[in-house]
């Protein structure tokens, strides 16, 4: 079960300066099976090489949403289909 979820493709989305630094606004890919939590995912991103290494160099400055809901680093990715990365929000 864990393997089949891990092999499923997810959509990754990037916003604000994270989008600019990553050089991409959206991509679809299958996450490695070892990536179980939001924290795992941030570490994996930082290890993907240029330009992700620089975009994700400070994971504490990055917020993550799983299927349109804010998620902490300890949150399991589970069956999320859309995962978004962005800086702290500054609207209003």
């Amino acid at each position: 079960m864990t393997d089949s979820i891990a092999a499923t493709e997810v959509t990754l989305r990037y916003f604000a300066w994270l989008r600019e630094r990553a050089g991409v606004s959206e991509e679809r890919l299958a996450l490695p099976s070892g990536v179980q939590t939001v924290g795992d995912l941030l570490r994996w991103q930082a290890g993907r090489g240029h330009p992700f290494d620089q975009a994700f160099a400070m994971p504490e400055a990055i917020r993550v949403a799983l299927d349109h809901a804010h998620a902490k680093a300890s949150a399991p990715i589970g069956a999320a289909r859309e995962i978004a990365f962005f800086p702290p929000v500054t609207g209003g």
Binding site: A16, H68, A69, A84, P87, V89, G91, G92
Partner: protein, 154 residues
């Protein structure tokens, strides 16, 4: 209860009318309109570009509204947030809460703003008169304002 994301400007009076229409239990409506300021720490600002996360924005604003309704006795509430390029003096956001009593209306509107500022997925990029652009940093004071609601009962 309504949330809207739009490039278009809004008319606070017309929105208020719609929000209150026909409900004579309403004793008051509190509103807040956020505007683009013309300076950033002493530097002139040329424009402000607002990016958001379609889909999550609406979901998060709806969650914020639902939380406000749980905390306060509100007859209605509204959040309208603009996106795209804006210039100094332009409206950015409208938050409104109507209620039988004014304290609920005031508390509701302020709660909506504080939570919107820290949870709704909007990002501002400033372009200054000197030609440089930069993403606005989140303010600790906004985080503190939102956190303070956790310790309050009203």
């Amino acid at each position: 209860m309504a949330v809207r994301v739009s490039a278009e400007d809004f008319d606070a009076s017309a929105e208020m009318e719609k929000l209150c229409a026909g409900d004579t239990r309403i004793g008051g409506i509190a509103m807040f309109v956020g505007k683009v300021r013309g300076d950033v720490q002493g530097e002139a600002l040329t424009s402000m570009t607002l990016e958001h996360y379609p889909g999550m924005t609406e979901a998060e604003l709806a969650r914020i509204e639902a939380e406000a309704r749980e905390r306060f006795r509100l007859s209605g509430s509204l959040i309208v947030h603009r996106v795209g390029e804006l210039t100094p003096g332009d409206n950015i956001v409208l938050v409104a809460a109507c209620a039988p009593h004014r304290q609920d209306a005031f508390r509701g509107a302020e709660f909506l703003m504080d939570y919107l500022k820290t949870r709704a997925p909007f990002w501002k990029k400033e372009t200054l008169a000197n030609g440089t652009s930069r993403w606005v940093d989140a303010r600790e004071s906004d985080e503190a304002a939102a956190s303070a609601w956790q310790e309050r009962s009203t």
